[in-house]
């Protein structure tokens, strides 16, 4: 009992350090990636290839004064950035990085992750409203309508995986996919029927689109669309208030990538030996994160109406059909 209390606490300290470093260096990767795609060089001055730039940026953000502008709702304005971090940090606690490398084994971890993801929206909503700024308010309204729309196909798609596995435990879902990459949920050719092999990639694509939209990333970053809304809900935030929002966003990206890896790409399962499982897990999530960055700098931002239409008119019907077909195939075969 004694050790099991300290285990999550130590993990949370580790995850906090990870959150800072991850935000700093994913930010660096994003700037470098953007620069490469746009035929620029990106940050080059501080350190080799600008590698120390994120540390300099972090120092600058931390040394700035925390300004609370006039006309904001003081309590909610201060609470929103903290609220942006809490769900992301907490959900790291139940993610299994490898067999037994997990802060807390929770039986219903899939449900816990989605419950936490749904409160993450609260930060954008309250932050946008409390700023007392029309741009922020529009960003909050957009973000909420977008998140509500994309949560439905995401949850429906997760149900297909839960039905295939028969468990809501992330560890069980990974164990179910072990024994060679052909057993991963994205292409279950051997364990299941041919028909399922056709629909599972569809689930993967739906889930991937939804997770990009849920983390407010381009081309779905309607909340902070800088050309229309300045920076949306973050307009009035400076110094570490802004820093916390950014850390929350990058950590949410990591949680999303971890979920995709666990649900579809076999978690810590190795395609071929070489390294232990944890490294494969990290390689998979960083490939996914790179894809998300790559998409951001390749496609232009959509309009909010097209974005909502994509979810309500295409993704939700497809995911419901997917759910029905999966249920039917499980019953028949």
């Amino acid at each position: 009992m004694d050790t099991s209390i300290w285990r999550p606490i130590l993990y949370l300290i580790g995850f906090m350090a990870f959150a800072g470093l991850n935000a700093a260096y994913l930010g660096w990767c994003e700037r470098k990636g953007a620069a490469r795609i746009q035929r620029r060089t990106g940050p080059m001055e501080v350190g080799f290839q600008g590698l120390l730039q994120p540390l300099a940026d972090g120092l600058k953000l931390m040394s700035k004064q925390l300004l609370v502008p006039d006309g904001v709702d003081g309590i909610l304005y201060r609470a929103a950035p903290i609220l942006a971090m809490i769900p992301a940090l907490t959900s790291m606690a139940v993610i299994p990085f490898a067999g037994n490398v997990q802060a807390r084994a929770v039986e219903l971890s899939v449900l816990l992750l989605f419950a936490l993801a749904s409160i993450g929206m609260m930060a954008v909503l309250l932050g946008g409203w409390a700023s007392g700024n029309k741009y922020s308010l529009i960003a909050a309204a957009r973000s909420v309508s977008q998140n509500l729309a994309y949560e439905i196909p995401m949850l429906v798609t997760v149900i297909t995986i839960v039905m295939l596995t028969g468990s809501m435990n992330l560890e069980d879902i990974v164990l179910h996919q072990q024994g060679g990459f052909w057993n991963w949920n994205i292409f279950p050719l051997v364990n299941h029927s041919i028909a399922q092999a056709i629909i599972m990639p569809v689930s993967f694509i739906i889930f991937f689109i939804c997770s990009v939209a849920e983390t407010n990333r381009a081309p779905f970053d309607m909340a902070e669309a800088e050309s229309e809304l300045i920076a949306g809900h973050m307009t009035e935030y400076g110094s570490m208030g802004f820093g916390l929002f950014m850390m929350g966003e990058y950590l949410n990206m990591v949680v999303g990538a971890c979920l995709i890896t666990i649900l579809f790409l076999g978690g810590w399962d190795c395609p071929f030996g070489l390294f232990p499982g944890v490294w494969w897990f990290l390689i998979k999530i960083y490939i996914l994160l790179f894809t998300v960055i790559w998409i951001r700098w390749t496609y232009p931002r959509t309009q909010i109406y097209k974005l909502l239409n994509l979810s309500w008119k295409i993704l939700i019907p497809f995911s419901l059909a997917n759910l029905l077909m999966t249920a039917a195939f499980i019953k028949i075969f």
Binding site: M1, D2, S4, I5, D73, I75, L76, A79, R104, V106, E107, L108, L111, L112, F114, A115, L116, A117, S118, I119, M121, M122, L125, L126, W129, A130, L137, A140, A141, V144, S145, L148, E151, M168
Partner: protein
Amino acid sequence: MQATICQTAANPSLFSAESFVGLIFLVTIGLIFAGALIATTSKRLVRCIAGLALCFTGVAGVYYFLLSPFIAMMQMLIYVGAVSILIAFAIMMATPEEDDIPGNQITRFAGPLGFALASLIFAALSLLGLKTEWQVFPKTGAGDMQAMGTALLTTHSMVFELISFVLLMAIIGALVLARRGRN
């Protein structure tokens, strides 16, 4: 983990696991009361919603202490993640900034009268709770999702169908109202 929550030593020390769990329980109770107070007394509607969300979070904590993590998480997912956010969304769409509602004859007496009524109801309910001989029913299932799903689709399938029927009616009603407003 769940078994350790309900096990309490006869005389736990202050820094033991049991007292830590008890502290967390007090925090969830505090969240419920603080959230309820904010939700009822705040003048700004968005703050009320934030208080409501806080209160729902505390209720989820109580469900967890009652050894039903599934219901606790559904509480978070549905009440905090969907209901409060939808209410907040509706408020933001409807009213830009609400001013004080001018007080009239009824509101002047509303506070004391409400307090008196509420304390009367509280006293009556607590008296009832203390006087009643409670029947303890044997535990029927493990309370896990599988048992719950089986029960919903076999023993209680009628209720399940009725609930889905009510929800369908609500959806159709909302569609009819929205269509009428469009012209």
